[in-house]
Structure formats: C-alpha cells, structure tokens
Symmetry: C2
Subunit: 292 residues, 2 copies
C-alpha cells in the first residue's frame, strides 16, 4: 500500500492530521490540498501538512490515488458530484463525516448510485480545537475510525482506506451506516446536545446572576463539548436528525422518570439508578486504558 | 485565630482534607475524629489526618472549639441534635452539606431554632474519589466554599469559619441558603442528574450492544460525574428536591425546544443556540484560570 498522490479537500484538523501522519510514515509521495481560503492553504504548506494546493477543486483531485473529503456534512454530496467527472477510474474517495446515512443518500440522490470506490468513513477524534493550526500527527493514535461501506462499495477500496487509517494508529471498525448513526446519535450527538442545552439554559437565566462563577471541575468537564464548533454541530443535528430526535425523546422519557423519582422522594430507586449508572461507567469507561 | 481542639465528624475526603491542611499550617493543636468505622478512624490516625478518635460522638465533641459535620446530608440534623447537649457554649459548629435549606430546616425542626454558633457551609470540591485515602491537604486550593448564615447566626462564628477556610486556600462567599440551593441545583445537582440519566439510559438499551466501546474523550468527560458516589447523590436529590425538580423541568422544556428545532430542520436557530452556548462557556469557563 503506497499512495502516490493524496488529495485533502478541507485542510483542517481531521484531514490535515491524517495527511501529516501518512507523510511522516513515508506512505504518501505527494499531498495536494484544496479549500476555500488560500490563507489557510498557505499555512498548511508552511506547516508541512500539504505539499501544494490548488484553488480549483477539479485540478486538486487530478490523478489522485485517494481523495479525503474532510468538509462539513452538508458539503460532502455536492462536492462529490463536482469532482466525480474529474476522477481517475482508480481513484478512491473517503470522507470524515460524523453521520453516514445522510451522506450516502445525498450522493445517491446526486449521482444515481453510491460509487464502488467511495468508502464512507468517520474518524472519532473530535476536539474543541479545529483548523490546520490544531493538526497533530498523532491525533488518531488509539482512536476509533468507523467505515460504513454500502452494498455497492468495493472491498479493495475498503481495504486500502482501512489499512491507511490503521497505519496512522487508528483502530478501524466496519458498521452498517444506519447502525453507525444510531450508535453515534446516542453516544456522541446526544451528549453534545445536552451540553449545549445546559449552557444555553443557564446563560438565559439572568435571575441567578453569572452562575458560571460557582461552577467547578465537574461542570467544566460536563460542558467541555459545548465549546465545540457551532457550524459542525448544526450540520450533525440536521444530518442525523432522525436518530438524534429518537434518542432525545428517549432521554426526555428517562429524565421524566428520574424527576418523578425525586418528586416522590423515592430514595431506594434513586440509589439504584445512580449506583447502576456509576457501576456501568466505572466498568466501561473509567477502567479503560485507552480512548479506543 | 487558633483552634485548640478540632472535632471532625465523618473523617473522609472533605473533613479530612480540611483538618490535614489546618494541622500542616499549625492552626490547630489537636484533631479528634469520629465516625462509624473504627478501621477508617485508625487509618486516619495512621495517615496523620487526625490525632486521635472517639467511638462515642458525645465524647468526640467534648471541649472542641470547632466541630465539622462532614457526614451525609440526611445525617446532619440528627447528629446535631445528638451532640448539642455536649457542646461548650463557645463551640462553633459547621457542616459541609451540598444543600443548605433542608439542613437548616432539619435542625430547626429538631432543636426549635438554628443555634447562633452553627455556620452552614458548602465546600465546592467534589471528587469521584471519596474516603480518608483520598484526603489531599491542598484539596481546597483555589476552590470555592459557600457559607450560608441564617438571620440568627453569630457574625463572629461566621468570621472564624470563614478565616479557617481562607487559610486552607479556599475562596469563601456568603449566600442566602435558598439562593445557594437554586444556584447549585442548576450548576451542579442538575448536571449530575443528567450524567447519571445518560449512562443509565445507554446501559438499558441492549439493542445497541455495548455502546460504551464507541465513546471517546468527549463522552468520558461528559459522564465523569456519573462515577460519583450513589449514596451522596441520592441524599442531594432528596434534600434539594424542590430546586432540583424546578431545574429539571426547566431543562426538559429547553430540550423539548431543541428537539423541535432539529425536527423542523431549523439550521439558523440551531446555529445560534450552539454558538451562543459555546461563546458563554468559552467566556466563563474555558478562559478561566482557576477552579474558583
């Protein structure tokens, strides 16, 4: 496995960190970047994340062995449609979108089918930081990457993308797109909504004064994900809305039940709920050695 | 300000860290511990957290200048009633309960009034760890301690307790008990409920398999407070139920609104909500230098 030309569309934290590590490992000869802001692309060249850039996306993908679409969820489908006439037959394309069903549907809608050499992907390495300045070659070390091939996806394309992610240190899993969206709605998209909602609510209640001044480490950690990028999370909420709304409703039912336990002063049931939650977290999260 | 005899009732993380630091600073001559488990008290002596212990609480408080009640919320009122006949007129008593109105009401109910030398307190230094093994002399460094004197509380008693907390590194604020309970219901008790509820919900949904395996750093931080002690949080939920239920209901209204924005695919409103939350958090939490 060796990539002569890698094209990164959207040179930020996610695509940039992937490219930089591949280059450091000597697995790629040339990295071409594309993005809307020339200033950012020049910074990426200066930081050694890409070798050169193009300001026309149809030139950027020319003769690439692999194209990585690390752009907002809402832009993936139309970008794909734009580049498709300019791809070599051998070019493999992958993306880094946090929702997968909507990306695949968007591509099918625009192209009529999901091309065999498109490998839908989702690297799990969110940070509050974003942009090319935040690039870290070891970002994916011990992190998960999920690939969600469809029935039409080429197995060799999946193998190539999988081996590259493995090379940069990631632990790669395959999942059906819809299952991926359910799992990440529950474990990632929902918690982000909950954190944004809490900070928003407290921010709107002026009668308590600046309540943030009374918060400590627990609150800081709980709301860390509310410092994430608003554009990205708007896109995720819109593109994984079905699964996310389902889990938001499940969660509201859970909260209603918990509120009733408190109102009825049901100490034993509250203890059981808290104790089981603590036990589950301690078992699955606290005692885990890595971020995988 | 110098304490000849300090009595710590409940020698765990909270009372033990306070005592240890006062001793290291040379501000206290003798520390007497009391608790239910002799094994724990012996460990506290071995660790140098207390000088000696008593197994009868009425002996433990004898001739103490200051008694610290660092016991579960539900136990404070009855312990207070038990020790009151054995206190010197000069003895000052303070507690470390996370809710204040219910503690004060409980004491008034048992004693007929809230004694002038009782200073209700709440050190904001929660940890998932608890017990005397977790004691840290610098636990309160740059942390807040809230004191909630009532109309009958003696000013000199407040001054003494305040100066001791300040000595161990804490930043002390005074608040009305009911305002304290509102603020901490919103900023601490509510987030704990939200974290417990999320882990509980995911733990109950077996159809997703072990979803915890797909979580990353964001989830780990978001749910860190769900690894807190179940007994303590049952007591807080029961003892600050009115304010907590109020904020749980507010939060459910906020979630309902957010869910509607997602269902109606209102991208601009979602962006505004996330962006304002991020800005508020970045301003008040992320860019704060200390835990105060």
């Amino acid at each position: 496995m060796r990539i002569e030309r890698l094209c990164v569309i959207g040179v930020g934290l996610i695509g940039g960190s992937f490219a930089l590590k591949l280059k450091q490992l000597g697995l790629v000869d040339e990295i071409v970047g594309y993005g809307h802001r020339v200033e950012n692309l020049e910074k990426a060249v200066a930081l050694g994340v890409i070798d050169r850039y193009e300001t026309d996306v149809t030139f950027a993908v020319k003769d690439a062995d692999l194209v990585v679409l690390s752009v907002p969820l809402g832009a993936i489908g139309s970008l794909f449609a734009e580049i498709v006439p300019h791809l070599n037959p051998k070019t493999i394309v992958t993306d880094a979108g946090s929702a997968k069903d909507s990306v695949i549907k968007d591509i099918v809608e625009k192209l009529g089918d999901c091309p065999p050499n498109f490998v839908p992907g989702h690297p799990i390495a969110g940070r509050e930081k974003s942009g090319v300045e935040a690039v870290e070659a070891d970002l994916y070390q011990n992190h998960r990457v999920i690939l969600t091939p469809t029935e039409t996806t080429s197995e060799s394309a999946v193998e190539l993308v999988k081996s590259l992610w493995t090379s940069v240190g990631a632990n790669v899993s395959l999942m059906a797109p819809a299952f991926h969206d359910e799992v990440f709605a529950a474990t990632s998209h929902l918690p982000h909504m909950l954190a944004f909602a809490l900070v928003d609510m407290l921010n709107e209640h002026a009668e308590l004064g600046n309540v943030f001044q009374y918060t400590a480490g627990g609150f800081r950690d709980f709301t860390r994900i509310a410092s994430s990028d608003a554009t990205m999370w708007r896109d995720i909420a819109l593109h994984n809305s079905t699964a996310l709304v389902k889990w938001l409703n499940e969660y509201q039912a859970e909260l209603k039940q918990l509120t009733q336990l408190i109102e009825s002063k049901n100490g034993p049931a509250l203890f059981t709920l808290f104790d089981q939650a603590k036990a589950a977290r301690d078992q699955h999260i606290l005692n885990r050695n890595t971020d995988i």
